[in-house]
Symmetry: C2
Subunit: 335 residues, 2 copies
Amino acid sequence: VEFARIERIAALARRLPPPDAGEVLLGIGDDAAVVDVGGVPSVLCVDALVDGVHFRRDLSSPADVGWKAVAVNVSDVAAVGGTAVAAVVALHRPRDLPEADVDALYEGMAEAAAAYGLALVGGDTVTSPTLAVTVAVLGRAGPRTVTRSGARPGDVVVVAGALGAAAAALHAVGAGRTPDPAHLAAHRRPRALPATGRALAASGATAVVDVSDGLGADAGHLARGGGVDLRLDADLVAAAAADGVRAVGEGWLDLVLGGGEDQALLATVPPDRVSVAAAAVAAAGEADLRVLGRVVEAEGAEPAVWLDAPPDAGRGGPAAHGRGRRVDHLGYDHG
Amino acid sequence: VEFARIERIAALARRLPPPDAGEVLLGIGDDAAVVDVGGVPSVLCVDALVDGVHFRRDLSSPADVGWKAVAVNVSDVAAVGGTAVAAVVALHRPRDLPEADVDALYEGMAEAAAAYGLALVGGDTVTSPTLAVTVAVLGRAGPRTVTRSGARPGDVVVVAGALGAAAAALHAVGAGRTPDPAHLAAHRRPRALPATGRALAASGATAVVDVSDGLGADAGHLARGGGVDLRLDADLVAAAAADGVRAVGEGWLDLVLGGGEDQALLATVPPDRVSVAAAAVAAAGEADLRVLGRVVEAEGAEPAVWLDAPPDAGRGGPAAHGRGRRVDHLGYDHG
């Protein structure tokens, strides 16, 4: 649904006259937009967190929600290789939300703003039956902007950041178990990887997306963006799981593939740039870079993401297309 | 409530380390923020429209709501003298909202974007029980940024744009009458005054605010921002009413003073710049500039806005403070 709408909006945008005051360098359909403002490429993005959809008030404190509303935007800016500079917030406030909770929300936003070096510069509080926090972030584009659309056959698929922790926490809660504290922390206070995003851009990554909907779904964005297939190796994907996710038991790999909220950065890198990228990401000091697979020509009419399981994975043998399981439909649909 | 929170957030922001990547030129508490991004002053603002709070689905079409979500942000950018360049949207979508309504919302946003020369560059659709449209706009600051805080004793209070039309429409609907079509249009499709904002800034306006909460409340922002009193002349305020608002009958002046949604620009201008400002605003071609009153030293402990009624206004003679009626509490509290 979301992808189809993005296509329609993009078609609509193409019908419109170009803007008077700036040039759109990267528009609808990416993690963040890049717009020329007075000769400087600026990054702009927005993300909304809605009570009961993106957070639960019994699992996240108001300060956690404030933190997360900023961090998910910093992650979007990181994906295009930019640096977040300033944030504004629209707080949708139910009338019965205590004043202390509002203050705590702002405190959480301020903590994240301080952690990521951006300024909280304003916003709007509106009454709403549904608590929601919408944050928009303005950033400075890096010397090289990386989109979702540059993956080419031959590129290596890499990821920075562990996968599945937040999903494992929600899975445990759903099953009536106490979640691993580290997993719960990943859900409550996701960590964006801004220096990693800049390192990937500087290292020649051909495409980057932040893993917010789930590895499968977000890899699907890179596949469709580049008109290519991504083939992920199941063992390599398993190795990218956050500590303790395997302990969930059956279904743990689906948490890694479709859990979402990881705020990891998934990228494609030319083969001769992988070691450079790994060193640059290591130097950024936020996460390790792991190889997950490779980019190939699209096999079918539709670009897709395949998980190639080793022969002993017990998944019932070769699937209809090639020898893997198609995973780009896996992911949490926030839309 | 909102003003107290702004003060707390500002206090919080002062405790935080300065941002790494940009300099905040105008922060929390104004219509829009101005941030230095790579040497270029950029404008950033966000506004949320919530179903049942800022619009009613029986009065506004989805396309109207989309238009308005963009226009109110353009008005915020205009108030600081900037030019809107790009917009991103967070659409909070109830599961039962038809796909056609979502498309119409985006069409309305695209219409407003085209009308005001900005680009719709992306966004996020999230599921929510409550329909809301949150738009953030990035703009280019003008050569001179005007805040809410520069009003000085001796300045003249002026307004560009007619007042009370949207409020008159809602008043009529509330009373079970058919609203004036022009008033309903003002509620559904407010017109921002971007060229007027730039003209006011270029003419030396000392302070500007967009009239979104109501003339009284927004004049109150200028009073508190400057630490001054504003004295408005009731006859001059009456003359700034939109056509047909008087026809509402008793209470019509309160619609002008407290109705909100006018998207007019209220400004203070040094006396020797009023004719220059009037000519520049006329040349901008969007609205006439009208004098409403003047700025004086604050009389009491708290800066305030007074409506000085002529002797025959039948308002019961002099009020407690000075000879006018205090009106800065009048306005629609969206918060």
